[in-house]
Amino acid sequence: MKRLTALLSALIATLSTRAFAEYGLNMTEGVTSVSRDIYDLHMVIFWVCVAIAVVVFGAMFYSIFAHRKSIGHKAANFHENTKAEFLWTGVPILILIAMAIPASKVLIDLEDTSKAEMTVKITGHQWKWQYDYPEEGISFISNLAQTSKDAINDNNKPENYLLEVDKPLVLPVDTSIRFLVTSSDVIHDWWVPDLGVKQDGNPGFINDAWAQIDEIGVYRGQCAELCGKDHGFMPIVVDVRSKEDYKTWVAEQQSAKAAAVASATKTWSEDELMAQGENVYNTSCAACHKKDGSGMVPVFPAMKGSKVANGAASDHINIVLHGKGGMPAFKMLGDADLASVMTYERKAFGNTGSVIQPSDVKSAR
């Protein structure tokens, strides 16, 4: 009964949030040549189908109406007509050929990534995306934003509920970009409808796709291949900036990286580690091991009282760096982040493990 009232009030709440819901009935046209080609193709096939439907259902409704027994219609007895049968085999074939020609052109164009000016490598992890800019030496992880996580059980949903991340992918406008898509664990699929890009990331293989984005703006998408428990919670945000702004952003990232490397060599205090560790834990680990460290036994072990978290530091570092079974490898995180998250796991939840310093992680890599 309580659940029912909750449901009803939630229902009313949903109806009133209508105000900021954007409506969508049709596919987006998007902001790349590829997405527009796809949209056009989609509309053409759609109208062809509608036209055929009108003819076929029209004939059917006509005979339902005119050839009823109740108005005294007597049944004819024909059951073959070579001409008609020839026609309705031939005409569909022609229609299909007419559809296949533009479709092939679009397909061949969108599979040709050779004219790319820059490359971004996208790696799917359960359940977050990693973006690498090989030429610029930038690499970071993009998680579901905390505001969305907090709102899951809350009737007040933020505007881009489940479509917001902590660190978006930043790209320059009017540049032909090659996306290299792969995965570190199960199959994910990187999809941003406005870019017309959807590509499976297969573990062990690298697929490619490309796009040239014509308009500055923020575009959102989601993982489109079932990848486990939080498949519904790994959104994608692409922040497209002018070429100058993009350059500034790259420079910022590079100096931030230099600073992080420097800070990883110093010795951290336990409090510093715990503070940063809690953040990292909540973004990177809590999906499986839960915010309170209770895990989801037996699939995801608890951190609370874990033998590893209370045991030798080297074992702990090893499993987090390299992964094991369903536990992903986290070597893409920085030394400071890793040291702090492990320290957090070893000290929080009533655990009694030792402190781990960034230098320990660095030497274990």
């Binding site: 969508g24 989609h42 076929v56 559809m99 709102a151 059980n153 297969n202 519904g232």
Partner: protein, 536 residues
């Protein structure tokens, strides 16, 4: 009746054994058909209850009734149970009941194996359902169980799932062998292949799909089993394998599988429309050839489910062209049905209403299928609710529709009684409206960008999900009425004539009102066969 049927013990001459053992030991095609149909109906309710759970969670944004892991279990088990537990067994049940009567045979060719085909199912279903109670829960990797989510990353219960699939495979293969042997070897001597009713033809061709496809599925799950437990590397790139290889093997089975579910449905519709149009089926032989072409094509289009896996572009082009071809023979069928109605003398008893709505709604599902087959467009459709809408239009308003139509159409022959026509009409309109409220908005959701298999979604998808869920609850409730109509018919239905539909043709209608336990102990004559054939 002559006594030409020899049974190895005489006690079987006059009727079934008494009590529960009748059902356990039975070798009678009608009993086995009944078992299959009730089993399928029970599974429909179980799978449907899971769908209700899915729709409940998707009623509004946020997680209300379950956690994401359980949601994935529901989606997966819903798909598996509906496909392997409801639709396929229902079709086999109809085949069991009808094929011997339609070809003028006393029973199936291999009656004891027929019993086993059925009596494996409850065990397979039991093993599958038991995974809900195991550590880590039921399968949560989708009914397509892509590696490595289903291999390296799945809990121990997965191995029980694998064995359940093996058992389901045995059952289907034995069932298919039986149907082939029956149609080829038990057919009345006077009946030529081109005299066979379309339901028999479609089932014969479906059997070849089953025998070709199910063993490949068995191979796929066997490779999963060894990858999981014995260190093979079929689907693991670290050992030189490829997760995408799993998808190729799966869809080599999976695509024929979807036609396994629809071809018998085509057969059913090809009986009902001529009956209520009072006119012979238009284009009998082109129907047969179209069925065979669809079956053939279904073996060579599988990778249209895999356009985004990074196949070389030549592969994508090939699979796109081959997929589009299927529209041609399917179109022939649709046009033939419409031409059958053309200049008929139509009446609209409930089976006909289901058949007519089948033609429209299945065609809509076919159109969205064609759109999905256009590889570049599939980039935007793939793994969205547009796909979910597509396959529910062909599966629910296609396969399931035909099963309901068949049940109502042949119920008088099975029970000797008539169902309540006005209640059945109410049920029809209730179902046909709610099912569209349920699935039509899912097209919009998919186009607007909602991925499938997600337990929660962003606000822009809220409206259509709400509508879809409400439609879903209404549609689910309609099955309670259906159950009532069927049970009421069995218990209190009015007795009918041997041929309750005046336009009906087919050997089954020449039997007594309620078909006897053993029928066609002597094969029907040439004259009878010709009179009752679909093209006379």
């Amino acid at each position: 009746m002559t006594t030409a049927t020899a049974t190895s013990h005489d006690d079987h001459h006059h009727g079934p054994e008494k009590g529960i053992m009748r059902w356990v030991k039975t070798t009678n095609h009608k009993d086995i058909g009944t078992l299959y149909l009730w089993f399928a109906f029970a599974m429909l309710l179980v799978g449907g209850a899971m769908a209700m759970g899915i729709r409940m969670e998707l009623l509004q944004p946020g997680m209300q009734v379950m956690d994401p892991h359980f949601f994935n279990q529901l989606t997966t088990m819903h798909g598996l149970i509906m496909v392997f537990g409801a639709i396929m067994p229902a079709m086999v049940g109809l085949g069991n009941w009808l094929i011997p009567m339609m070809v003028g045979a006393p029973d199936m060719a291999l009656p004891r194996m027929n019993n086993w085909s059925f009596w494996i199912l409850p065990f397979a279903g039991g093993i599958l359902m038991s995974t809900f109670f195991m550590d880590g829960g039921a399968p949560a990797f989708g009914w397509t169980f892509y590696a490595p989510l289903s291999t390296t990353f799945a809990p121990d219960s997965t191995d029980f799932f694998i064995f359940a699939v093996h058992l389901l495979g045995f059952s289907s293969i034995m069932g298919a062998i039986n149907i082939i042997a029956t149609v080829i070897n038990m057919r009345a001597p006077e009946m030529k292949l081109m005299d066979m009713p379309l339901f028999v033809w479609t089932w014969l061709i479906t059997s070849f799909l089953l025998i070709g496809a199910m063993p490949v599925l068995a191979g796929a799950v066997t490779m999963m089993l060894t990858d999981r437990n014995f260190g093979t590397a079929f689907f693991d790139a670290t050992g030189g394998g490829d997760p995408v290889m799993f998808q190729h093997i799966f869809w080599f089975f999976g695509h024929p599988e979807v036609y396994i579910m629809i071809l018998p449905a085509f057969g059913i519709i090809s009986h009902i429309i001529p009956t209520f149009s009072r006119k012979p089926l238009f284009g009998y032989s082109s129907m047969v050839y179209a069925t065979a072409s669809i079956a053939f094509l279904s073996y060579i289009v599988w990778a249209h489910h895999m356009f985004l896996t990074g196949m070389p572009v030549a592969g994508e082009l090939y699979f796109m062209y081959a997929t589009m071809m299927i529209a041609v023979p399917t179109g022939v069928k649709v046009f033939n049905w419409v031409s059958t109605m053309w200049k008929g003398s139509m009446t609209f008893e409930t089976p006909m209403l289901w058949a007519l709505s089948f033609v429209i709604l299945f065609t809509i599902g076919g159109f969205s299928g064609l759109m999905l087959g256009i590889a570049p467009a599939d980039i935007q459709y793939h793994d969205t609710y547009f796909v979910v809408a597509h396959f529910h239009y062909v599966l629910v308003t296609g396969a399931l529709w035909a099963i309901i139509a068949a049940t109502l159409y042949w119920l008088p022959k099975w029970t000797g009684k008539m169902y309540n026509e006005s209640l059945a009409k109410v049920h029809f309109w209730w179902a046909v409206i709610s099912v569209n409220v349920l699935f039509f908005p899912q097209h919009f959701l998919g186009l607007a960008g909602m991925p499938r298999r997600i337990p929660d979604y962003s606000l822009q998808f809220a409206d259509f999900n709400l509508i879809s869920s409400l439609g879903g609850f209404a549609f689910g409730a309609s099955f309670i009425l259906l159950a009532y109509i069927v049970v009421d018919c069995i218990r209190n239905g009015k007795p009918v004539d041997a041929r309750p539909w005046d336009g009906a043709k087919g050997l089954e209608w020449t039997l007594s009102a309620k078909a006897d336990y053993h029928t066609f102990n002597t094969p029907p004559s040439r004259e009878l066969i010709e009179n009752e054939s679909q093209h006379s």
